[in-house]
Amino acid sequence: MSVVISLTDIRRVFTMGDQQFEALKGVSFDVSSGEFVAIMGASGSGKSTSMNILGCLDLPTSGRYLLDGIDVGGMTTNQLADIRNKKLGFVFQGFNLLARTPAVENVELPLVYAGLASKDRRKKAMMAMEQVGLSGKENNHSGQLSGGQQQRVAIARALVNDPAVILADEPTGNLDSTTTEEIMGLFTSLNRQGITIIMVTHEHDVAAYAGRQITFKDGRIISDTQTIHTGKTA
């Protein structure tokens, strides 16, 4: 399998006034195409910080990050925006849909910035909506959708551009257990279709859906284990 993500000795130092804080202290790991990775760890261990770097929303203080073979370090903000648009899909804990905007238009949004014509956008967005099982809810605003449905819209939005990786930071953090199962079922089925997923979670049973668990502690990886019973082999 080809390597989609390769982190080598990533460090991230935050400077606040005269104080310095090293949130990531040399993180290295590779993710191959088609993997489903769960990132675990205590609060403040650096999970979100590494997700932001993986998502090209933040740049590491030092270290090398190759995304799809391309070195992300030293890119301009416009190039990073392009990478986020074309190679990455984001799913957030708080859904982060645009208010008072129909679901389908939320899903279309990455395609708007990709410069697609409105007809093609609509077609792709409808397909993504179908993929997450939300056909028929295209015109509902976020206020007219349940939490699980909102997260499905967000997943459709992350999918719509055929990204190399979907990055999800605590995607089930705001959901109850039944809805969590639904969303994780959706992630599993997407992963079976060959989509690479990296997901942060606090819960072990959520992490169990992934084929690989990486655990952080104080800005370092303390364990990286493969489970056999889930993923493609199940």
Partner: protein
């Protein structure tokens, strides 16, 4: 991202806060409406003034009798009977910069045609008068030298007089009575409109000067005129002509340095130029006031856009995470600001045009709404949006996506 999409997003944002958008636009609406109304009144006024300049005729100098002192009582300008037909003839013959000079007398009286009567101004003037005032006869014939020399009782009617005495009938050849004396109508003068003083210039009857002097006005001596109206050869020679006239009349009237002249001269186009200047100054003043209100409106736009950027920090974060570039965000907020001001501009143009029309209907002011002023107002409102929208948009585009996404 294409432009249409940007406009759509901006429209949606404005629609979600209709009341706020409207209140924000109000400053621009008022400013633009003021600009449009002010320009309509201003151009209307200067159009009327330039019409009046044209109606008087170009390069005109008016020679009026001066004041006299008789038994300790001074009369006002024009009260004395110091100018004569001979003065007019001398000016025309001896002043090289003068094209024409015509003596005139002026009186008022009742004019009767059958059972219709009308009170009007009666002007006596030598035939040159109509060349000077560039006032053609549209029906019939003008007053000629024979009429003048023979003091024939013929007259030309202004349009207003003709309408009031004859209605739609053709007056030429009819006999009318002016101050009870019968005159033959030989022609109708072209329509002139209002004078700079607001009088209807078509409400007048013209007779040969000598006819008027003999039959219609009383004077101490024969050949007295109430004014001499002079046309200079060209615009450049007006001042020279005025000097020549003064020198000639001083000599003819034996005015020395110790004696006050018994006449005065006035350059009409100069007076009108002053009137036009002051109407322009007035427009500029109103324009300045309008610009200030536009600036105030623009600051209001900037204020609301800053609030909007803060409120929508999370949205900006989402858009950036999903692939919006700095320029996309900048353009989005700029478009919002410009659409606010352009919409305000359009409403302002409609209100200003409406207001100008109401003013012209109610107060009778002449107003003119030019395409030019509408275009200027429109682009000005867009410029206000660009200028005052830039800072908030720049602020939005400069946000860090991680911070923006975390913003509550």
């Amino acid at each position: 991202m294409n432009f249409l999409q940007t406009v759509k997003i901006a429209l949606r944002a404005l629609r979600t806060n209709k009341m706020r958008s409207f209140l924000t636009m109000l400053g621009i609406i008022i400013g633009i409406a003021a600009v449009i109304a002010m320009m309509a009144v201003g151009t209307g006024a200067s159009y009327v003034i330039s019409q009046q300049i044209a109606s008087i005729g170009s390069n005109i100098i008016l020679v009026m009798p001066g004041s006299t002192t008789s038994g300790g009582l001074r009369t006002g300008t024009g009260g004395a009977q110091t100018l004569s037909s001979d003065d007019a003839k001398a000016i025309m013959a001896d002043c090289p910069s003068v094209a024409y000079a015509a003596g005139t007398v002026r009186t008022a009286g009742q004019i009767i045609n059958g059972n219709l009567n009308w009170s009007s101004v009666i002007m006596g003037g030598s035939p040159e008068l109509f060349d000077i005032r560039e006032w053609p006869v549209v029906n019939g014939r003008p007053i000629n030298q024979q009429d003048e020399d023979g003091a024939i009782k013929v007259c030309l009617l202004g349009q207003t007089v003709a309408e009031n005495l004859f209605g739609s009938a053709d007056p030429v050849g009819s006999i009318i009575r002016i101050k009870k004396i019968p005159f033959t109508v030989i022609g109708i003068l072209d329509r002139k409109g209002q004078s700079p003083q607001g009088q209807d210039q078509d409400d007048a009857v013209f007779v040969p000067l000598r006819t008027a002097q003999r039959n219609l006005v009383r004077s101490q001596r024969s050949g007295i005129v109430s004014a001499i109206i002079v046309k200079a050869k060209s615009e450049e020679s007006i001042n020279k002509a005025e000097d020549e006239i003064k020198a000639l009349l001083n000599q003819r009237h034996r005015i020395t340095n110790s004696k006050e002249p018994d006449f005065s001269t006035r350059n009409l186009s100069e007076i009108l130029a002053v009137a036009e200047q002051s109407s322009k100054a007035m427009s500029m003043l109103l324009g300045a006031v309008a610009s200030i209100s536009l600036i105030v409106g623009g600051i209001g736009i900037m204020n609301i856009m800053l609030v909007s950027v803060t409120e929508r920090t999370r949205e900006i974060g989402i858009r950036m995470a999903i692939g919006a570039k700095k320029n996309d965000i900048l353009l989005q907020f700029m478009t919002e600001a410009v659409m606010l001001t352009m919409l305000g501009g359009l409403i302002g143009i409609a209100l200003g045009a409406g207001g100008a029309t109401v003013v012209s209907k109610l107060l009778g002011w002449p107003t003119m709404i030019s395409i030019q002023s509408i275009t200027i107002a429109f682009f000005f409102s867009a410029a206000v949006g660009i200028f005052f929208g830039f800072y908030p948009a720049k602020k939005a585009a400069g946000l860090n996506p991680i911070d923006a996404l975390r913003y509550e």
